[in-house]
């Protein structure tokens, strides 16, 4: 099968392939549907507003659920009085939560009091269901909770100090979600500080740090800070639950029908087979929607109590304060290098807070990206009285890249080297080598001295790289059906949160069956269908498309036999091309796909197949061939009068194995870049230290970009064949936004000659940094 990068090192590699799986595809050039710019199959439903999201689900007799949330950030609950709410006209059910299933929890599982302690402002306590959203809103205000208020801490630095109010009195743990955040189990806490985590799936420390620094001719020590970013999917978290006496249907705005089902079954002690989760359209997720959540449990109880379906959608404020976020970080970095640029040692020490949750590490990018013989990391989680973090588009690595990629840029400055040339020297990744070359050509990269522009508005250029591992999930099964009228159907529980999963499934099956995308109907997002992976870790395309192709291939074999019967030959003599079965040596003897199906003896044929381990011995849980690298280039202009930054253009060079749908991949990259620019310049969750409440739980003061903030973006998409599966595809969602913020930060440095060490890079920080630099010069 094809192996390598076209125009660079494309070759053929032999792989052992399971007998039930199809022979390898040739490179995309030779394919008809895969690797093309195919229109989304669900676009019609979306532009006409007929796509039904969870927020749009209306069931007969449906009630509206609402949560009562803690008004203070840290407390013990003395009493809860729900009687007035219970008696309010139009209220059908009231429920008080007995445990928190989000965030970290004590290992013992023992409860110190009747109600969960309040650990952040906005933590859910109780909820109710009423005939309308308005009535629910009115009734929720009648719930009375008596608190014993405790001291609280919301700031990362203050929470680390001895004597700070302690969020968790005992050691805690938390299962990682399918979003790919790193949570090392069993670590101890001291005060609010848990850890350090020193290991990852790449292993633990390597080499000898002291020796490495002793060998260094240059040592750079810097501290970088990143802020808390919230996911802000346009559709908030939410569910509609119809408990129906234990024969449950849950409509969920989720990234994982599978996990939502499993969580629900566990919370209510039901067999998984009695819980059906449906998620036909999900309005974005970005890592925050991997689980049922407290709100889902609440909706379940309210539906169970009332005997009616209950819809519970979070509002925008609840989404900000309780539905997950990208933890912040402070990263102490120490880098040793030789004068020629070769790294001798890299030490990373980080603290971050995911509020009452775990997963505030800064990823493995520092460990994995560069050739450095001596490496050690220590990553601490710090608890604060804030809503739990969640996996967020390349969790950890986005924070880690901001520090690492500026640090490398600083090394280049110290060595008076082109930062691109330095990376060329210390980065052994083949794919990034190609990405650097092609990206630099497209960008027109020529090294420019920092702060060299005249005039108040200065331009600057910057580059940064990303690393994201390929991960595979074997819970990826697809059923392919054909029907007598010619219909082809693809079924899987996998959901499409906007990334385009439906369309790539249609493409892969169409390619295998010699059809067009529109000939294939894709039904997904329902746990009645075969199990599918969660939409996290950029796993989906790499996991589910081989299953789809394998199932289609099995179906094709069946159809070949059928065609052989009709054409009076052996199955081996038949070709399927452009919707027609024909004899290999006599094209005149043929039967069309539709005609063949019409003559089936049965109404429907069904084939099912799953993802197998990667070909070539790359097992699940290990890192396969290659990786999902990327290199991004940014040009910015900085107004030194006002501190205003405009990202003028970006060039993004990416790879994701065999690309399946070029348009969708580009859209994911564009979206990742915007999210990265927003992370670099705008978005910042601000919690008031004196009250513990978020000051900007809205879209007015939590600044997401509009189209005006979007630069010119050019994409270099590189095909990278690895012979890993029957489609050899990989995801792209996460690699898309790792390199953006450091590329922008490096470009800002290049523009003004002053480096900004903490995110977001606001006009005020730029002005302050320029003034500081000026004052230093004056001294």
């Amino acid at each position: 099968m094809p192996h390598g990068i076209p125009d660079y090192n494309l070759a053929t590699v032999e792989r052992e392939v399971p007998a039930t799986e199809p022979p390898a595809w040739e490179v995309n050039d030779k394919l008809k549907v895969v690797g093309k710019r195919i229109k989304r199959t669900d676009a019609l439903a979306k532009v006409t507003g007929t796509a039904v999201f969870t927020a749009d689900v209306q069931l007969p007799g449906m009630l509206y659920g609402k949560m009562f949330r803690a008004g203070i950030p840290h407390a013990k609950i003395k009493s809860i009085d729900v009687s007035a709410a219970q008696n309010y006209p139009g209220v059908f059910a009231v429920h008080v939560l007995e445990e928190m299933i989000e965030g970290a929890n004590p290992k013992s599982g023992e409860k110190s009091s009747r109600y969960p302690d309040i650990k952040y402002a906005g933590q859910p306590i109780a909820g109710l269901a009423a005939v309308s959203a308005d009535v629910a809103e009115e009734a929720i205000r009648l719930i009375k909770v008596e608190y014993e208020a405790l001291d609280f801490v919301v700031d990362l630095d203050e929470a680390r100090k001895p004597g700070a109010p302690v969020v968790f009195a005992t050691d805690v743990d938390q299962e990682a979600s399918d979003g790919g955040e790193d949570i090392e189990q069993g670590l101890k806490s001291s005060g609010n500080v848990r850890g350090p985590s020193t290991r990852s799936f790449y292993g633990g420390p390597r080499g000898d740090l002291e020796k490495g620094f002793a060998e260094a001719e240059l040592i750079i020590e810097r501290t970088y800070r990143t802020q808390v970013q919230t996911h802000c999917p346009l559709e908030t978290h939410g569910v509609v639950v119809d408990y129906n006496q234990g024969d449950v249907t849950v409509f969920a705005s989720t990234q994982s029908t599978k996990n939502t089902r499993n969580d629900f079954a566990k919370a209510f002690g039901l067999p998984k087979s009695r819980v059906r989760v449906i998620s036909e359209y999900t309005g974005g997720g970005f890592g925050a929607k991997h689980a049922l959540g407290n709100f889902g449990v609440m909706a379940g109880h309210l539906s169970k109590i009332s005997g009616r379906p209950v819809k519970l959608m979070l509002d925008r404020k609840e989404e900000h304060i309780s539905a997950g976020n990208r933890p912040n970080s402070v990263q102490f970095m120490k880098l040793g290098a030789k004068k020629d640029g070769m790294l001798t040692a890299l030490k990373q020490l980080s603290y971050g807070t995911a509020g009452v949750g775990l997963g505030a590490g800064v990823g493995r990018i520092a460990q994995a990206m560069y050739d450095c013989p001596n490496f050690k990391t220590g990553q601490y989680d710090v608890f604060t009285n804030a809503g739990p973090g969640a996996a967020f588009r390349a969790p950890g690595n986005v924070q880690g890249a901001f520090a690492l990629e500026q640090l490398i840029d600083e090394l280049a400055v110290e060595l008076d080297m082109d930062p691109l040339a330095l990376r060329e020297k210390i980065d052994k990744s083949m794919i990034r080598k190609v990405e650097r070359e092609r990206g630099a050509r497209r960008f027109g990269w020529t090294h420019k001295k920092a702060g060299s522009d005249k005039g108040p508005v200065k331009k600057g250029i910057g580059v940064a790289q990303a690393h994201w591992p390929r991960i595979v999930n074997l819970d990826s099964t697809v059923e392919v059906r054909v029907m007598r009228d010619g219909a082809v159907e693809v079924r899987s529980a996998v959901q499409d949160i906007g990334t385009g999963t439906k369309t790539v499934l249609a493409q892969v099956v169409a390619e295998e069956l010699g059809l067009q995308t529109e000939d294939v109907t894709v039904l997904i997002g329902d746990t009645l269908f075969p199990i599918g992976p969660s939409s996290g870790g950029s796993i989906v395309t790499g996991a589910i498309t081989p299953a789809a192709r394998n199932a289609a291939y099995k179906m094709k074999q069946k159809l070949f036999e059928l065609a052989a019967e009709k054409l009076e030959t052996d199955a081996g003599n038949i070709l399927l091309e452009a919707g027609t079965f024909a004899l290999k040596n006599d094209a005149e003897k043929k039967i069309s796909f539709k005609d063949l199906l019409r003559r089936m003896r049965v109404e429907q044929l069904t084939e099912t197949a799953s993802r197998s381990d990667d070909y070539g011995g790359f097992m699940v849980g290990t890192i396969g061939h290659g990786e999902l690298g990327s290199v991004q280039f940014a040009e910015v202009s900085v107004d030194t009068e006002t501190g205003f930054v405009q990202v003028e253009r970006m060039v993004a060079a990416h790879s994701c194995g065999r690309p399946i749908n070029i348009g969708q991949i580009e859209s994911q990259i564009n979206g990742g870049i915007i999210m990265g620019i927003a992370y670099a310049l705008y978005e910042d969750r601000v919690i008031d230290k004196s009250t513990g409440h978020q000051l900007n739980p809205n879209i007015d003061q939590y600044k997401m970009p509009f189209s005006f903030e979007v630069p010119d973006i050019q994409i270099e998409l590189i095909e990278d064949y690895g012979g890993r599966s029957s489609t050899d595809a990989s995801g792209i969602g996460e690699p898309a936004n790792i390199a953006t913020a450091p590329a922008v930060a490096n470009a800002i440095y290049n523009a003004i000659g002053v480096r900004i060490y903490d995110l977001p890079i606001t006009p005020a920080k730029i002005i302050a940094a320029l003034n500081n630099a000026k004052n230093k010069n004056d001294e």
Partner: protein, 469 residues
């Protein structure tokens, strides 16, 4: 009872007039194509088109349905994405499909409505203005590039068209469903509520601030809708005095040819104010009464030394200078049951210069960290008259009396500006908040103050000199 047309359906409803239109659409009418994303007018997922008759002419614009009380749509035509669907895709829908302009799709109906509404304007063939019409819609997935391409493709489809872009033509070309042809006649039949001017309960104009601040009270309380009061609307110029009715929207102000003639940069100034749907809704009077210390229109008109005409519920009128209108943080020189009827100011003449500047973290749909406007009369390089206003640097929209006074009579040179800055810094009292620290706001106002002069007389000043001295 409220009567209007929703898509192709005649509506008569007894739902409370303070009910958000969004809830009526989604819950009462079960039309779920219009999405709820933030309920504060900031995301655009709930954007709908509003058509209204003005002198028998039917005009459409976008509004956010979450901040539109039902009472404000009396006698109007409201169009959701369902009301745009035909048995083929409209060019706006098609452009989004073809260019891959959807990902998760939750924001998509809002974009379809914004694009379609823009198709009904005279700027339909202008790609840049078509993209600008999307300034109130957030997409979290696509990175906007595909949506920009869709906007460009849609605009291109209009270029080279002859004649006016009338509703009939748009129906004929498949941009709009056929029922649009009958809407004007149907709207004429809807009884106008010829209510006397009363000022009971909550007074509400565009609703863009009030529905965020007081949604509960509005949902249940008594309301007086001012937005469509004829006597409060319109822009008139007589003897070089411009009078603007308090219910005139920001979009109507920036779209006024008369004002554009006197303020060449008017449209680019107003682009910095909020977003298209909010400018279509928010009124001059509402912006002033909201009394935000950084209200863009307050700052704009303070520098023009505008005067307000107030009216109480007995019809008694009085005039007050805008400078005297803002007493303290959110405190106004407005008596109980008194409303702003109109604002008037003298239009700038020869040798007069006006400029508006604003800086915020994100460029659009943003509340400023600091904004400022200046109005200068310059003769022979001397400032003969100066009026400077600034927002975000005081508890009220601030007219800088001392700085203005100082500037008057000074030679237009760098020394004057540097001295003026010192007076200005003494005069203002910014506080640190989520929009910026005190020090940053001070610095920002200095830069914006200098920027005024660099814009007005670029040949006279070098920023370098101003900053290094």
């Amino acid at each position: 009872m409220i009567e209007f047309i929703l898509n192709n359906k005649h509506i008569q409803t007894n739902e409370p007039p303070g009910m958000p239109l969004l809830d009526f659409i989604r819950y009462t009418m079960d039309l779920t194509g219009t999405k709820s994303g933030c309920r504060e007018g900031d995301c655009g997922a709930c954007t709908v088109m509003e058509g209204s008759l003005n002198n028998n002419e039917l005009k459409y614009k976008t509004i956010v349905s979450c901040l539109t009380p039902l009472g404000n749509v009396q006698g109007k035509h409201i169009v959701t994405v369902e009301g745009l669907n035909m048995n083929h895709l409209s060019p706006a829908q098609k452009a989004i499909v073809e260019q891959g302009g959807t990902q998760c799709g939750f924001c998509t109906p809002g974009f379809v409505v914004s694009l379609t509404s823009h198709s009904l304007t005279d700027d339909a063939g202008d790609p840049e203005k078509t993209r600008a019409a999307l300034d109130g819609n957030i997409c979290r997935c696509t990175g906007y590039k595909s949506i920009e391409r869709a906007a460009t493709a849609l605009a291109d489809s209009f270029s080279g068209r002859n004649g006016e872009n009338t509703l009939e033509q748009l129906v004929a070309t498949g941009h709009l469903p056929a029922y649009f042809n009958g809407i004007a006649e149907r709207l004429k039949k809807i009884r106008k509520l010829a209510e006397p001017m009363k000022t009971n309960g909550i007074l509400l104009a565009g609703g863009t601030d009030l529905l965020v601040q007081k949604s509960d009270e509005i949902a249940e309380g008594e309301l007086t809708f001012l937005q469509d009061k004829k006597e409060l609307k319109g822009i008139a110029v007589q003897d070089n005095i411009c009078t603007i009715g308090a219910a005139t929207t920001a979009a109507e102000i920036s779209g006024s040819a008369e004002l554009q003639a006197h303020f060449p940069a008017l449209q680019s100034h107003f682009k910095l104010i909020s977003s298209t749907p909010i400018r279509n809704m928010g009124t001059l009077g509402g912006n002033l009464v909201n009394a935000s210390p950084i209200g863009d229109l307050s700052i704009f008109f303070l520098a023009l030394d505008a005067e307000l005409k107030l009216q109480d519920n007995k019809g008694k009128q009085r005039r007050i200078s805008l400078k005297d209108f803002f007493l303290n943080y959110k405190k106004l020189a407005l008596k109980s049951r008194e409303i702003i009827e109109s604002l008037r100011f003298r239009l700038p003449e020869k040798d007069e210069y006006f400029n508006f500047e604003k800086v915020s973290k994100r460029q659009h749909l943003d509340i400023a960290s600091v904004n400022t406007a200046i109005h200068l009369h310059i003769e022979n390089d001397f400032i003969t008259k100066a009026a400077l206003a600034a927002g975000g640097v005081s508890p009220v929209p601030f007219f800088l009396v001392k700085t203005s006074k100082f500037l008057t009579g000074q030679r237009l040179d760098e020394a004057t500006l540097l001295q003026a800055n010192e007076i200005m810094q003494d005069e203002i009292s910014p506080i640190s908040d989520i929009r910026g620290s005190e020090a940053y706001k001070r610095l920002l106002l200095r830069q914006l103050f200098f920027a005024h002069f660099l814009t007005i007389k670029p040949e006279l000043f070098k920023l370098r000199n101003l900053l290094t001295k």
